[in-house]
């Protein structure tokens, strides 16, 4: 992979009033990697992005490296970072081409070189043929690609995006998520982006850092985060998970609706809770299962349906299943849960 490596070494941020926005954090972003900083507002993700950008200095002990050079005290304009803001503002009185070439023009690069680079970036960002258009004549998605093209035109070492899609309405956001994933990958620039939307993080990033209250709780590839979350917060934040409470006795987990045989070794069930993803529960005839529940409701979702079960444990249990099977309200069903789908988590 080409690109620049980012290293944060023990970076924390404490504001003058004593609030700690970021606890000491060390992470490495590999050359060409796309890292998402994911978490609710106030989790420290924006502070971390600002430290990487050079918009914020870490507390005294923290260091930021781009490859081997210490950039901790270098201001943003000298760090060679391209930054795309959520509320990107383009030049309204300039064409797409002029917008993209702007940063290069200021750097006094020759007209021919600017033209070549703008052509190249427009092709990468699928803006061919739109060069002479006025910004006002573009769709939201196209404008967003122009903002990205403008940021990458000067060939930054690092690309930083602040909530890249949240300015767009929901329908467009889903469509652009996949487009942006493909686009960022083709740029092969080391990229860090901030989002509060787990679907966005999972779809776009190579690795996701899940953050809460100034800490990175887990940093892993999306599949691993989903299937093997480290704790309950991560499990809930990266996808819906059922919390099943019961009592563990030897390897038998007893719940209101019956019992589940857990394998040897799963002994550290904290607070007598286990977690299971909604799609990991299969519904089978009650006679075939030791664990049963009652159908409380079923909701047709098009490509799936959501069944809510009562009487399995204290909480209601959500199951995502095929859209075709019919379930009656009040019907008794059996639950089939594969042992490998049971998440045993530390509490948050």
């Amino acid at each position: 992979m080409s690109g620049t490596q980012i290293q944060l070494k023990s970076c924390s941020k404490t504001f003058p009033d004593g609030t700690r926005a970021l606890s000491p954090t060390s992470i490495n972003v590999s050359p060409g990697e796309i890292l998402a900083l994911l978490g609710p507002s106030g989790c420290g993700k924006t502070t971390m992005l600002r430290i990487i950008a050079g918009l914020e200095s870490p507390d005294e002990t923290g260091k930021v490296f781009f490859d081997d050079s210490d950039v901790t005290s270098i201001p943003i304009e000298k760090r060679s970072v391209g930054m795309v803001f959520q509320s990107y503002a383009l030049f309204p009185n300039m064409s797409v081409r002029e917008n993209i070439g702007y940063g290069l023009k200021i750097k006094k690069i020759s007209t021919e070189k600017i033209r070549d680079r703008v052509d190249e970036v427009m092709a990468l960002c699928q803006l061919e043929g739109l060069g002479e258009r006025n910004i006002k004549a573009l769709s939201g998605g196209q404008r967003q690609r122009v903002a990205l093209a403008r940021a990458v035109a000067p060939q930054p070492k690092i690309l930083l995006l602040d909530e890249p899609l949240s300015a767009l309405d929901a329908g467009l956001r889903d469509q652009l998520r996949d487009e942006l994933a493909i686009l960022l990958r083709s740029l092969s620039i080391t990229t860090v982006f901030v989002t509060h939307d787990q679907a966005e993080a999972m779809a776009i990033a190579d690795r996701v850092a899940v953050m809460q209250k100034g800490h990175v709780l887990q940093i892993d590839d999306p599949r691993k985060l989903y299937t093997a979350p480290d704790n309950a917060f991560v499990a809930r934040f990266v996808g819906a998970a059922n919390e099943l409470s019961g009592r563990l006795n030897n390897n038998l987990f007893s719940l209101q609706g019956g019992s589940l045989q857990l394998p040897e070794g799963i002994s550290a069930v904290s607070d007598d809770k286990i977690y299971v993803r909604q799609e990991a529960i299969k519904l089978i005839p009650p006679s075939e299962s030791e664990l049963k529940g009652k159908v409380l409701s079923s909701t047709f979702l098009g490509n799936s349906q959501k069944i809510v079960l009562s009487d399995v444990c204290e909480r209601l249990v959500n199951v995502i299943t095929d859209p075709f099977s019919k379930y009656e309200i009040g019907q008794e069903v059996g639950l089939l849960i594969q042992v490998e789908d049971i998440l045993v988590l530390r509490d948050d």
Binding site: F85, S87, A89, L90, F91, N93, M94, S166
Partner: protein, 272 residues
């Protein structure tokens, strides 16, 4: 080739609905009409103008009809007009009425008049008269300025980042002035900050950057430096500012001049 750039600052026009008067007294539309005529009438004497920036409080209540009326009134201006919101404005109504490139968030923009960069900032705090630039706006400003090197820039916002001495207005000035001016100070090229809000022509020489407030073409906030002076306005002569960016040997300089829009006598010849 570096060249002279001229642009007009118009501010605090406080347009109300047809048939209404601002504060029951001021026919603000008539003043704006007059300002537009003055600007167009100046062209013969001062040469071409590159554009107009309106530094907030375009409308009195932020209603859609008020923005439509504003747009009708400025139609005779045949150059680009860029706007930013003041405390009387409504952000979303303005986003709809004017061409902003961002669909959400603050109405910040970066445009160019001739050689001059103009960065317009949104300091509106919905529901409050005071101003504040959000952290995201300040970050964005820092990035935009960082990219400009030593090119000249005029930074426009509604709320002045300094104390004018008029108590009731100072209580609703820009809250994070220090943060803002410290960022502006980092810019290496020629720079100025231009604002509105106070309806008076006031200049301020902070060592980080010169700042100028434009008067409104309509009503003025009464000059009163007493601590608890009442919040009064007068109909003393209002106006607009004409900003000129001049290329000097090494760098650019900004010149800003007051142009009254109220009727006056003259010109008379000095020659006998």
């Amino acid at each position: 080739m570096r060249k002279v750039t001229k642009f007009v600052q118009l501010t605090d026009t406080h347009i109300v609905r047809e048939g209404e008067l601002a504060y029951g007294v001021v026919n603000t539309a008539e003043y704006l009409e007059r300002a537009v005529k003055v600007i167009n009438g100046l062209l013969e004497y001062i040469g071409p103008i590159d554009g107009v920036v309106v530094t907030g409080d375009l409308a009195d209540f932020g209603a859609a009809e008020e923005y439509q009326r504003f747009k009708e009134l400025i139609k005779p201006l045949k150059f680009p007009v860029f706007v930013l919101p003041g405390n009387h404005d409504n952000r979303e109504q303005m986003r709809t009425a004017f061409d902003f490139t961002n669909e959400t968030g603050p109405l910040n923009a970066h445009v160019k008049f001739g050689d001059c960069h103009l960065i317009t900032l949104d300091s509106l705090v919905t529901g409050s008269p005071h101003g504040l630039l959000t952290d995201k706006t300040l970050d964005w400003l820092k990035c935009e300025l960082g990219e400009l090197g030593n090119e000249p820039v005029s930074i426009a916002l509604h709320h002045p980042p300094f104390v004018t001495g008029i108590g009731h207005m100072d209580r609703q000035r820009l809250r994070n002035s220090e943060q803002f001016l410290n960022i502006v100070a980092q810019h290496k090229g020629a720079k100025q900050v231009i604002c509105g809000h106070v309806h008076r022509h006031i200049t301020y020489f902070d060592k980080r950057c010169p700042i100028v407030i434009s008067p409104s073409p309509a009503h003025a906030v009464a000059l009163d430096h007493r601590e608890n002076g009442p919040s009064d306005f007068t109909l003393e002569p209002g106006g607009i500012l004409l900003h000129t960016l001049i290329p000097e040997t090494r760098d650019y300089c900004f010149r800003s001049e007051f142009v009254p829009v109220s009727p006056f006598k003259g010109p008379y010849s000095f020659g006998l």
